[in-house]
């Protein structure tokens, strides 16, 4: 089992290194960053000086290693637009995104999994059909459009909830959080719901598909024949068997929620890193783009690694196979 973990860890490191190369080449080597840094009317001498100062006259591989060395020290340079270190900028925006993402993913799992198991357990009931119809909608309807409808319904027409922003925040461990104040919570509700709907549909469908297939297997037939109650069959056998795909999706979806947060944050003017990356793409703020991409890659690779570890814990076949 330790060997398995070590191999996965090594793979993760290699992937991270490859990602850093791709990001570097993609963002820095395509187009000419010098045109963003200085105006076209500066003298040729100053232009060459600036190029030399940023090391842009060096060969690409040398630039890459300089870049990598700085990244390893947590230095992503300064934002062209905000004029502050990128790391500081991202760290100041991260809690808002984290708060939104966690609220969405946990909300989706807590509602979606029970709903899906029910729909798979009683596939012909009216409630199951209703659940599936709603889940198809949640799956198909683009996030940004649901966001618009939520704003229209709850903020413009009913005026129950605010249409954007983070509301009041409270400082905890030196970080600002919205979910600890009533006002902040009311600001969090709509964006979190918006972000959760896609995951909710996905979890429901996965749980349903898994339950439907598992209910037809011999495992369930034997468990019933042994006289176990339906509740025990569902909890001890069905849930255990469908847990593996669900954990995978939960982990991966947590990471992809970070990506979808870009959309939700833009609609609800939620000041997280998703809004930051859209703004920086539009203003060609390259250091911020690089830092964001590296951060997302890091989060993804870490989560993939953790999901792999969770497999080993959940699936007795893998555990035995690795222990030999």
């Amino acid at each position: 089992m330790l060997g398995h973990v070590a191999i996965r860890l090594l793979q993760a490191l290699v992937v991270m290194l490859v990602m850093s190369m791709l990001v570097f080449v993609g963002v820095y080597a395509i187009g000419n960053p010098i045109d963003v840094l200085i105006g076209p009317d500066v003298s040729q001498e100053l232009r060459l000086q600036t190029i030399a100062r940023y090391g842009l006259d060096r060969p690409l591989w040398e630039q890459y290693f300089t870049f990598l060395g700085r990244v390893l020290h947590g230095d992503f340079g300064r934002s062209f637009v905000f004029g502050m270190p990128v790391m500081e900028l991202i760290l100041s925006r991260l809690p808002a995104t984290l708060e939104l993402t966690l609220a969405a993913v946990f909300g989706a799992a807590l509602i979606g999994i029970p709903a899906g198991i029910y729909a798979g357990y009683r596939p012909d009931s009216v409630a199951a059909k209703l659940i599936m119809t709603v889940s198809i909608l949640g799956f198909s309807v683009p996030t940004f459009w649901i966001g618009l409808v939520l704003i229209m319904a709850f903020a413009v027409e009913l005026q129950w909830l605010p249409a954007g922003g983070r509301g009041e925040t409270v400082s905890l461990f030196g970080v600002q959080w919205s979910f600890l104040t009533a006002n902040g919570l009311s600001h969090l509700l709509l964006p979190a719901l918006n972000l959760a709907l896609f995951k909710l549909a996905l979890m429901t469908r996965l749980a349903r598909a898994g339950t439907r297939e598992t209910m037809l297997t011999d495992t369930v037939k034997f468990a019933r024949a042994a006289g176990l109650s339906e509740w025990t069959v569902l909890r001890r056998h069905v849930l255990r068997l469908i847990a593996i795909p669900l954990v995978t999706v939960f982990g991966l979806e947590f990471a992809s929620t970070l990506a979808f947060a870009v959309v939700t944050e833009t609609i609800f003017s939620w000041p997280g890193i998703g809004k930051l990356i859209i703004d920086s793409i539009q203003s060609l703020d390259r250091p911020v783009m690089v830092a964001y991409l590296m951060l997302v890659a890091f989060v993804f690779i870490t989560i993939n690694f953790l999901v792999d570890l969770a497999y080993v814990g959940l699936d007795p076949r893998l555990r035995k196979g690795g222990a030999r």
Binding site: G26, I136, S140, I151, S256, A259, A297
Partner: protein
Amino acid sequence: MSEASPVARFWAEFRESKVAVAALAVVVLMIGLALLAPLVAPQDPYDLANLSLSDARRPPGFVGSGGYTHWLGTDAQGRDLLSAILYGLRISLQMGLVAGALAFTLGVALGIGAAYAGGRREAFIMRVIDLQLAFPAILLALVLSAMLGQGKLQLIAALAAAQYAYFARTAHGAASAERGKDYVEAVLSTPLPPMRVVWRHIFPNCLPPLIVVATVQVASAIALEATLSFLGVGLPVTEPSLGMLISNGFQYMLSGRYWISIYPGIALIVLIVAINLVGDRIRDQVNPRLKR
């Protein structure tokens, strides 16, 4: 019964689901409307001579200076929204289908190629594809369209690059299963060229799962394009897709002029849901675990 062609048998089974048939009818209708947009739309929404600012932002049912009723209202430039939606549908469908076809070709070539090649090459290709699948398509498309810049071709490239991996994985799975079967071994032992074996024997047997993926991916390409255009990193303003129409109406929503955003959105959703329902039905039909 046994003489019926596979397509006829497939259709007979497909027809059992009324919802799926209705969804298919909606998809066909919308494609028809998009193709015939210049003939069925009340006005050419991008001919400036037809537009009058006095008609701008009028609610549904308003009779404008053109003398006809704007059933879905007008947008900020006084454009008939129904016409704008029909023209937008054209662009959205075009993007989804072209990007989907490109992703299909690239993904299937890589997936079947890897399964056929085997060994290290297979391991390498599939490792790269698994790696890409770990990242959500929207993020890849966002980053790519940011790097490539705005434009129709750039966006098609970004969408295809973000989606081909789904086809590659499905094609690889199906092709590996076929590769191990006796009939493939048998054809391979004949002097037929390998390309012919792949094209005539392996590829057709991989089609059912690929068709399912294709429906889902075309729908999601349409949704992705709309999302990127909404965020302002997708199509240029000269290509007003449904996403662009929704984005244009967003600023008027807070003042209660809902129709500019909502109706293009409904058109988009009806299209995506209908495609997904058709895909769902095909998925159930090709899933051997649900066979009665």
